[in-house]
Symmetry: C2
Subunit: 358 residues, 2 copies
Amino acid sequence: MSRYGNRVARLRTLLEEQRLDALIVTSLTHLHYLTGFTGSNGLAVVTRNAVYFLTDSRYRAQAARQVRTAQRLFTHHPLLTGMAEHHCLSRCRRAGFESHVMTYQQYRLLRKSFPRKLFVPTSGFVEKLLLVKDDAELASMRKAMRISDQVYADLLTILRPGMRENEVAAEISYRQRRLGAEGDAFLPIVASGDRGALPHARASEKILRRGEMVTLDFGATVDGYHSDLTRTVALGHVTRRGREIYSVVLKAQLAALDAARAGMPARDLDAVARRIIVDAGYGDGFSHSLGHGLGLHIHERPRVSALSNDTLAAGSVITIEPGIYIPGWGGVRIEDDILLSATGNTVLTSAPKDLVVL
Amino acid sequence: MSRYGNRVARLRTLLEEQRLDALIVTSLTHLHYLTGFTGSNGLAVVTRNAVYFLTDSRYRAQAARQVRTAQRLFTHHPLLTGMAEHHCLSRCRRAGFESHVMTYQQYRLLRKSFPRKLFVPTSGFVEKLLLVKDDAELASMRKAMRISDQVYADLLTILRPGMRENEVAAEISYRQRRLGAEGDAFLPIVASGDRGALPHARASEKILRRGEMVTLDFGATVDGYHSDLTRTVALGHVTRRGREIYSVVLKAQLAALDAARAGMPARDLDAVARRIIVDAGYGDGFSHSLGHGLGLHIHERPRVSALSNDTLAAGSVITIEPGIYIPGWGGVRIEDDILLSATGNTVLTSAPKDLVVL
């Protein structure tokens, strides 16, 4: 069975469990996963025995090339109207839709286009399939991670005081693209000095200065799949405080890498790293969760946080990214991507982690 | 009155016309426009006499810096639940929400959080404000356009047969960033040879060859605002057919630039360019609309197409981008961004348009 056929078969099992005759897939990411289509306008209807793929006529050539395992349909109307035009739900009574993706306006249009059908809000169906990566997905992700690793190695040779954060970001994006990435997984984070205290700081006009630590958080996209890598380096020299905070974060990160395995409650993994940071007296500084699932989405299941109810599954790829943030001083974060198995995990990113002073 | 105060005042006029006591703004782009906030999680509630801004605690520092004209509120809950926690609708009976942005799931949560309120689906309220650019917006857009113009000039010195399309895309992104762009307005389109027949082709692994035409369509982002520039160049030599098609597209584009002015029905402007292409015998090859509004969104009102009911307004920025696409052969598109006024328009992009053979 083809990659896409296999995914659709797994989805149908979920539909049957929920007594749904069909799922209307409007997330473009999920459409990509289920059909191979990468355009910007399209939807799929997966019924018990058919897969309909709908787009507009701009995508005729691209759909013919990419979508081989679904019936390709075209419409000049909004896609949800096109579904009616092509009778995509003709044998369905209860159809699920992605209620966390479909807008209220689209929902009204759907209801208007099919006044007699029963529509059931769902969320997390395709996300459940995404939890376990197949070989093709892992190959794309490994490629993305190799690219980010290489770019980090390059950065160590070019980073220097006097550069602007957004110059560094431009180098990251450019080098990832040159190495074969389709683009950035997200806008690179380059946070130097006290800006390092903002976990989500985008690169700014700020100039890197001697004595600062710089957090670099970036990723590449390959075949729609992502890498996500963070390293923190020091410029010129590092203070005692910087060195201590770095060693606490690294210890927490290594402990989590050591502990992570399928079958474990995700919150227990968060606790492994958090305990070390709390015990070192920096608990208030670790203001986010330990990690997250990674794949076609930058953030996907499982949640790896103190509040998560997820259990880690074999075949999931997750990030392990503890950090300590001190307002007015700065921050340190170290992040790798790992593949979980029943006996442990494989660390997929390989950039070095000893504290570097540039 | 501040820039944001002014925008909120204009929005309130629209709310009053629709007898709404409030608008719940969940589009992050619109949130940026109304409050200045650029983070990835937030919403605003604009009532007749207050503006509430809600986000989570990660954005405490950023919100304090960016959001000066709204009451800043923070929540650990989903934002729509946080609205109830902070009593944002306490004096409102009829509240509008952005039904083309809010998901069905969010809508259910909103209803659950405020069981006694009346929620009215709206769309296009903030979009209506975006139609007319103020000076600050135009300054950002002009900066983005100067960056794209400069990068096109650079490309003319580096483009050569043997480069891959995605190498060219990497150069575009890098150079825009180095010139001060926050990032790309969209993934650059680099479509060479027969790929030029796909109006939305992303850059691929394909190698540029002598005798091909290459369509370059890219833009920069500055302060969240976009430029959008397309040029088509020839490599090595150009066929008679290529030269003819180029001259038809250029003639159509210049005619539209000549005709565009505020007060004109947008479809009449589309017709000016389309007539020239149809008369030259290439009508089937011009498979998209003439242009679109441009600003915080890459595509916004007005629609500039044969089916548009919009009338062009003074202060709108639109693209003028006719093209001809021939399956199996390739395509030509030429695009500028213009600012409309009552007497005509100002062309904001200035990259040269004579056919270049590199």
